[in-house]
């Protein structure tokens, strides 16, 4: 992020803080704040010749734009392809190929946790997803156990190794913060929690932080490389050069220790075996889990309305 975009963000954040503070005193900004901000306005550097034609007459003329706008309105409905930028077809193709609306996507997600003391732990998720529905089979390596989880938008079900089927009712849209029982379904349970690489790719794309980074070979196959970076996040995706379907996505997250006595944590999540399946009645079954009919049932609630009783475990 270069200066203007970041400076504007900081200015807006400061203004939001002032605005809130001002509501408890005066609705107008204090004069000293205006004076202070005026001093921080950056001086414009000279333009390179490449931009001269775009900025004829300098800022004052540029800000008189009604004729430009009127002319531009004629073109507004058309797709305006401006020059520059990096390989939009690869990036937008990868974005389109990772949406789960109207299809079922299936992938294997390998998680590797490593803390600063050298200890590591792993887990394997076999995931079927469509829209807000998820069905995940979780296998952890240490301790070795398997758990099955499904979420249909309002209810999360966990089929636990002891044969228990726990049903969590979750108020719409709150699972991301409530976490359900194990918090794996949406890939993020709150700030600082693990993020699903597919969601990361899509958010990085929408915020303009994804970059096409050339080509590479994977198992003798040519793939396009896409990278993206955000705070504490580094993503590298390999996509098919023709369909843009992900071949592999690797997301590295660094977590600061919550307190001095805890180690820092690095989580590497790798997605492989990515498939897009049509949303047929037969395939819809993949979104459901089928616990043993005699599984002991627990009904719990998280963050929710309509809960019968408090969590029992």
């Amino acid at each position: 992020m270069t200066d203007y975009i970041a400076d504007l963000q900081h200015a807006l954040r400061d203004a939001a803080a002032r605005e809130y503070a001002a509501q408890t005193s005066s609705p107008e900004p204090a004069e000293h704040v205006i004076a202070e901000n005026a001093q921080t306005t950056r001086r414009r550097r000279p333009l390179a010749s490449g931009y001269a034609s775009r900025r004829k007459g300098g800022r004052r003329a540029a800000r008189r734009f009604a004729p430009v706008l009127t002319l531009a309105a004629v073109f507004a409905a058309a797709v305006v392809v401006l020059t520059g930028g990096s390989s939009p077809s690869i990036l937008s193709g990868a974005y389109a190929a990772t949406g789960t609306d109207g299809v079922i996507v299936h992938y294997v997600e390998t998680l590797h946790f490593q803390n600063s003391t050298g200890t590591s732990q792993g887990a394997l998720h076999d995931v079927w997803a469509s829209g807000q529905q998820r069905h995940v089979i979780v296998t952890t390596t240490d301790p070795k156990r398997t758990e099955e989880v499904a979420f249909n938008g309002t209810t999360e079900e966990n089929y636990l190794p002891d044969g228990t089927l726990a049903t969590y009712r979750v108020a719409a849209g709150t699972l991301a913060r409530g976490c359900g029982s194990v918090g794996i379904l949406l890939g993020e349970c709150g700030r600082g929690d693990q993020i699903n690489p597919l969601i990361a790719l899509r958010r990085l794309y929408r915020s303009g932080r994804l970059r096409a980074a050339g080509q590479a070979a994977l198992d003798g196959r040519r793939v396009e490389v896409i990278t993206g970076v955000s705070q504490g996040i580094r993503l590298r995706a390999l996509v098919d050069p023709h369909t843009f379907v992900p071949v592999e996505i690797q997301l590295v997250q660094h977590f600061a220790p919550p307190a001095a006595e805890f180690p820092a944590l690095k989580l590497t999540t790798t997605i492989t075996d990515y498939q897009r399946l049509p949303l047929t009645p037969h395939n819809r079954q993949l979104l459901l889990m089928r616990p043993h009919p005699h599984a002991r049932r627990l009904h719990l609630c998280v963050n929710g309305t309509g809960c019968a009783k408090s969590p029992t475990r």
């Binding site: 975009i5 807006l12 775009r54 008189r64 430009v68 609306d101 700030r191 958010r203």
Partner: protein, 187 residues
């Protein structure tokens, strides 16, 4: 520290902003600055004007977030409505309006070459910045684009789409609903 990976929805961020959480608005800005820049650049065909107008749009959004009501059209549509108003008002006054920035005492930031390159980069990939719309079915995309981005009246939209006003309204409504669903899926 703000992050595009904050799990809260846009609507929740605006409510948090109205409640005094300044960082929430910084996150909202970060999520949608590319979209607003792309819309402004498409309409003005100028990166510098786009940058100025985007700043004014977000300032107005900050001032207006107390009036935002969750449960209606998605926050991104609300934001684009503000952008549209700023474009129209600027055209009427024949200059980039800066009322909201003045009220908030936000200085007019200068742009240098590097900034313009960054703005160009953000808006040059039309598909990237307007990806949310690109995901919509064609009729809904056309309707939302015309109504939200171009401020077309429903009768004009109906004529353009060769359908009744009621059908045009349905396309817009369904498109906006679908936008919200897509945003929730990506949370």
């Amino acid at each position: 520290v703000s992050s595009i990976f904050d799990p809260r929805s846009d609507e929740e961020l605006l409510v948090a902003t109205a409640g005094g959480e300044a960082d929430a608005f910084a996150i909202f800005y970060e999520r949608h600055i590319a979209l607003v820049l792309a819309v402004m650049a498409r309409r003005t065909r100028s990166y510098e004007l786009a940058a100025d107008l985007a700043g004014e749009t977000f300032a107005a959004a900050l001032l207006g977030c107390r009036r935002f009501r969750p449960g209606g059209p998605p926050a991104v549509a609300w934001l684009l409505g503000i952008a549209q108003n700023k474009l129209r008002e600027s055209a009427r006054r024949q200059r980039v309006v800066d009322d909201a920035r003045q009220r908030l005492a936000i200085p007019m930031l200068g742009l240098d070459d590097e900034d313009l390159l960054r703005v160009e980069e953000l808006v040059s990939d039309h598909g990237r910045a307007l990806a949310l719309l690109d995901d919509l079915p064609p009729a809904q995309r056309e309707a939302v684009q015309a109504r939200v981005l171009e401020d077309a009246e429903y009768d004009e939209l109906a004529a353009r789409m060769s359908c009744s006003e009621q059908v045009a309204r349905q396309h817009v409504s369904r498109g906006l609903r679908r936008l919200r669903t897509q945003l929730q899926e990506d949370r």
